[in-house]
Every structure is written in structure tokens, then in C-alpha cells.
Subunit: 252 residues, 2 copies
DNA sequence: ATCATACGAATGGGTCACCCATTTAAACAG
DNA sequence: CTGTTTAAATGGGTGACCCATTCGTATGAT
């Protein structure tokens, strides 16, 4: 039951030690780790092992490695990026279908909108309305690009999640929308009427949030998501079932 | 806009390629990657870079590396381990609190129970009832271990998610519960009355699912989760805010 | 023949001594 | 004072090498 002698690999020890230092607060975001060569001296190990450890910490999203003199590994501010990437990965592995995502969205977006309506501060409202303005620009601007409008749609939904103040909702929301984005390559909306309907939905949701009407926001978000999903379904006339495009996890 | 020459690090290219092969299905769980030295020949790179790539893939939970002759890197079955580890990490960084998780649970578990009530097949009911029997054994058996009962509680909730047929719910549910489990080291339930109340809740939920009463199942699940969260809150009388035990990411 | 032991090959883990590209700051020329 | 060059420190990368683990196989005693 006791662990075997030296059963830990060297790089794992390094990862544990550095991670513990970060979690204990001995290393704060923005702090810089010693150079790889100094770490070699400190830990009495080889540079390759040091680098494997840094690679793992980097992948975990705990540090960021920069090049050049006085570059090095700096402790990153905690964020939800890595977990979003991992969940996206899991979804791709498990062959999650668009219907699965749609069902999940319908379960969660209503609650998010309702919570946002209860918690929104004036600055939050301003941010939402700013996104609305940008969305309208994408809709009516000269360079009318449906893809940009969708980006704004997603930004608004994530903004709602951020208003809840709950990072779990933010992480899950980002994950869902980033994965959904993978479907747009095939089923991009080209009908302007659909986009306009979408825009009106967003405006109504923001108005309800602004007024603090949580139940109304919830109902609007639900019908919005439901209608969106139906449009996506109608747009999918392809031979096989929709599946996300096979790009690797982006920007990781 | 085009990426700079060789802007990718070598190990990142390797990670992307191998990961894409796994996600495409060209590499299936159980398959074994070539040996590190063969990969050196195939990719025309150094062994150190190969190993950094394998380390990252290992950390992502995509492969498992074994020692000895005819050891090597085997593709792992998709799992939620790495995601759970990441979420645990976030919680340790105090970015996610128990309250956040609790709020999220209350948002999602009701819908899961309702969907399960609508979709449950007789075999699903049998499985739920089997779990109930085991939970009762943990409660009344000679070796009365609260921890085992909690495991059964979690198994039942995950079983409900599986009945929905939606892998997104399953993944999210596993993630949440496995993370919540990290709190039990400090706030283990020792009062038998709480456990019994929990058990009655579960029985009622299963009964509602069996009868196909989705709304009733939803309400029961909501009150169950809400009461559970209140108990957890009351149990936390410690000086500081509840935070998961500081063990490193388990078995990763 | 059978079983136990010893050996050797292949593998991942680890180390060392290098070299290169990038980046910054100091030194220098105008 | 300004712009340019240069040197140093850093992370990225490579190849040769050794070690511990593991397993198949050969060897040998029974």
C-alpha cells in the first residue's frame, strides 16, 4: 500500500512541487520562475526533466513560457481556458452530436439568463447593450458577415454567464459555444431573416435582464435557443449526421 | 494573418498530429503508439521533443505510458479524469467555490431528473433500484461507512444522467460530483440522520422516475440538492472558507 | 520433459554537452 | 542625443549515452 521506492518520475515531482507553491500562494500570478538552467541547479536534475515539467505546467494553464532574455516561465492568472479546451476535447472524443449540445443548451441557458437578470449591475447592462450595438453593426454594416454576427451572439451569451458571477457557468458556456462554433462551417446561416430574428431575440433578452424580470429572461432565452436549434436542424440536409469539424483544439 | 515561419514549437506539432489522429479515429483506444525511437525516425525530430509531446498528451489524458519492453504509449479510453483534475485545480486556486458548484448543481440536476423520468427504460429503472439497494446496504450494513454511501449517491446521480442518453450531461455530472467529492475529506457526514434523509430523497426520486412523473422528479431532485448543499454549508464551521484538500491532482 | 533461473533485447526514464533563434540591454559610432 | 551594433541570457532543440524495468528466450538442473 505504501508507494514503491522512487515511484514518482522526476518531472512529476517538479510539477507537484511547483504546483504546490502556486496553490499555497508562495508563487503569485505574474511571478517569474527561475531560468531553466537555474532550476537545474536548484533541483539537481537535468534540463530535459525541467522542461518536461514546465511543459506539463504550461498545458495545465498554470504558467506561460516566453522567449528571449529575461523571458522564462511566468505564473498565469487563473482562468477557465484549459478546462474549456479539455471539455471540448472530451466532446470531440465522445462523438457528441449537435442534438446533444442543443439539449444541454436548452437546459442551462434559461437559468443563466434568469440569474443574470437578478444580479446584473448597471455596468453589466451597458456591456450587454454594447455587444448588441456591435451585433447590429455586423448585421447592417457594409461588410455583412454572418460569421461575425454569430461571434457577437456568442459573446452575449458568455457575457450573461459572466454576470452570474459563477465561473462554472462561464466555463461551461464557453465550452458549449466553442464546440457549437465547429458546426458553423457546415451550416452557416445565409438567410438574413434568420439572423434578424436572432438579433431581435437578443435584444429582448437584454431588455428583460435590464428590467430585472428573471422569469421573462428565462422564457426568452429558452425560446431563443430552441428556435436557433430548429434552424440549425433545418439547415442540416447533409448526407450524414452533423459532427464537429475535425480541427484540433484551437490556440492551445 | 498567416502564421509566422515555423511558429509552432516542434512538440506542439506532434501533439496536434497525434491528437488529430486520435480524434479522427485513426487511433482507437487500446492502440499503441510506436516506440519513442521509432517516432524519432517517423517525425525526423529528437527524442526529447517526442517525449515532451507524449508528456502533454499524457497530461491531457489521451494516452498512458507504460514501462518495459513492449511497453509504450497506449491510447486511453475517453474519460473525465483530466477535466476533473483541472476543475479541482481551479477550485484550489480559489476561483471556484463550493457555492459555485452548488449553484450549478441546482441548475442542472432538476432537468436531468426530469429527462430521465421521460426516457427511462425498464432496464434503467432496474439499475437505479439496484443502486438504491447497495446504498441501503452501505447505510445499514455492519461496516457502516458514510463515504461508501456518498459514492452510491453519486453513482445514482450519474446513472440518471446516463439515462438521458446525452453524453454532455454525463460528462458534466461526473465532473461536478468528482470535484465535490474533494470536499468530503473535511465535511464528511457523520450524522446518521442526514444520511437517512438523503437515502429517502433518492428513493423518492427513483420512484418518480419509475412512474414517469418528470415534474415530480425535477422538484424532488431540486429539493434534494438544495438540502444537501445546506447541510454541507452547516458542516463547514471552519475558520476559513471551504476549500478542497490540498492533495495534488489524484492519480494523474 | 519440466520447471526454474539467467541472460539479453527493447522500452521508457534520465543526463550531458552542445548548438540555434529570439530578445533585451549595454556598448558604441555618428 | 540618436540610431546601430554587439554581447549576453534565455528558451527551443538535438544527438549520444547510460540506467531500470520488463519480457521473451535460452540455458541448465532436476
Amino acid at each position: 500500500m505504501f508507494r514503491k521506492t522512487q515511484h514518482n518520475r522526476v518531472f512529476q515531482d517538479l510539477v507537484d512541487q511547483i504546483q504546490a507553491a502556486i496553490l499555497d500562494g508562495r508563487l503569485k500570478p505574474g511571478d517569474k520562475l527561475p531560468s531553466q538552467r537555474d532550476l537545474v541547479d536548484m533541483f539537481q536534475t537535468s534540463r530535459a526533466s525541467i522542461r518536461e515539467a514546465l511543459r506539463v505546467l504550461e498545458q495545465k494553464g498554470l504558467i506561460e513560457v516566453k522567449l528571449g532574455v529575461s523571458g522564462g516561465a511566468v505564473i498565469k492568472t487563473a482562468g477557465t481556458e484549459s478546462i474549456t479546451a479539455d471539455l471540448t476535447l472530451l466532446m470531440q472524443q465522445q462523438q457528441v452530436s449537435f442534438d446533444h449540445l442543443a439539449e444541454f443548451r436548452e437546459s442551462i441557458e434559461g437559468d443563466v439568463a434568469a440569474m443574470a437578470a437578478l444580479k446584473a449591475a448597471p455596468s453589466d447592462i451597458a456591456r450587454l447593450e454594447d455587444i448588441l450595438v456591435q451585433a447590429e453593426a455586423c448585421l447592417n454594416g457594409d461588410d455583412h458577415t454572418p460569421y461575425d454576427f454569430i461571434r457577437m451572439d456568442i459573446r452575449l451569451h458568455i457575457a450573461l454567464a459572466e454576470i452570474t458571477g459563477n465561473p462554472v457557468f462561464v466555463a461551461v458556456m464557453k465550452m458549449i459555444h466553442e464546440t457549437v462554433l465547429g458546426f458553423y462551417d457546415r451550416f452557416t446561416f445565409r438567410r438574413r431573416a434568420v439572423l434578424e430574428e436572432n438579433y431581435r431575440d437578443l435584444g429582448a433578452i437584454v431588455a428583460a435582464v435590464k428590467a430585472g424580470r428573471s422569469e421573462e429572461a428565462k422564457k426568452l432565452a429558452l425560446s431563443h435557443v430552441g428556435r436557433f436549434n430548429r434552424h440549425m436542424k433545418n439547415a442540416s440536409h447533409g448526407p450524414e449526421a452533423p459532427s464537429p469539424s475535425n480541427r484540433a483544439t484551437p490556440k492551445n
